[in-house]
Amino acid sequence: MRCAGAIPLLGSRPGEIDPTEEALLQAHLATCDSCRARLADVEALGVIVRDGLMVEAARRDLAGLADGVMARIPASAWRGERPGALGRARAFLRHHRVLAAASALAPALAALALYLYIDRGSGAGPAGLSVEVTSEDLAAIVLDTSDGPIILVGEGANGT
């Protein structure tokens, strides 16, 4: 193995490269001062980064993290229970807010459409006319004219 093939493998973690490559790398490091120096630098950098991350993590206050996570998990979940239908519906709505809002508006839009449909359907025209006549002892007939209905009563009514 030459330096060009060895450099990318420097700093690899155990198991990241196959045993054959590992053996070739170790053989190369045994004979190459330059690559050993690079490996030392990589390992030193890893230590610096790790220590830096630990310092940064220590500065963060994670005291309430566990409680916060547990609070967001439904009690039924950490007791090992499956949520009920209502719980699943709430979880679904919580994660699909736009769909939930649209679902809530659907009845309103349906009511509006129905209102507009009825509003237009009851306009002028034969469909809007409705006549019921009851007479105790006289006959009644209804004539439909262009201006409206005529209700006549009598023995045989009086239409022409």
């Binding site: 009511a111 006319l129 007479s135 006289l138 239409g159």
Partner: protein
């Protein structure tokens, strides 16, 4: 999220109330009392020309207007219209939706009751008395709202 639900339900309530508000509004109603005769010179007196299409469909050829009432009726309210001889006809506005009005007319003299829904601009002509001596009484009802 809560505000979205609140807005949605507010829209539902508002839409549910819209037809109710329109249905409760008072409606101007014009009622005329007419007497029709089988005999006489055919024709309509001044002021009754607008009734020609309907009145000419009956067997009565001469017409006279006895009374005219203009009233604003709210749904569920009625007005009594007098006929000669101390008789009266009751006109009840049952409901009004988008200009189409439903009236219930009770005529004790002919023991007749009608319930009629007319589209906007249409008029009801109803005979409210049995024919006597070749004449009979009528009422015309038109909602102008």
């Amino acid at each position: 999220m809560r505000s979205t639900w609140t807005a949605a339900w507010a829209a539902v309530v508002l839409l549910a109330c819209l037809p109710a508000r329109a249905a409760d509004a008072p409606v101007p109603v014009r009622i005329r009392v007419l007497q029709g005769f089988r005999q006489g010179t055919p024709g309509l007196p001044p002021g009754l020309e607008d009734l020609k299409a309907q009145l000419s469909a009956t067997a009565y050829v001469r017409w006279e207007q006895a009374e005219e009432v203009k009233v604003s009726l709210a749904p569920g309210k009625s007005v009594a219209v007098s006929l000669p001889g101390g008789r009266a006809v009751s006109v009840l506005l049952v409901e009004s939706k988008s200009g189409a009005a439903t009236f219930e007319v009770s005529a004790p003299d002919s023991r007749t009751r009608s319930r009629v829904t007319v589209p906007p601009g249409k008029r009801i002509v109803q005979q409210v008395s049995a024919e006597q001596g070749g004449s009979a009484w009528f009422v015309t009802i038109k909602a102008s709202g």
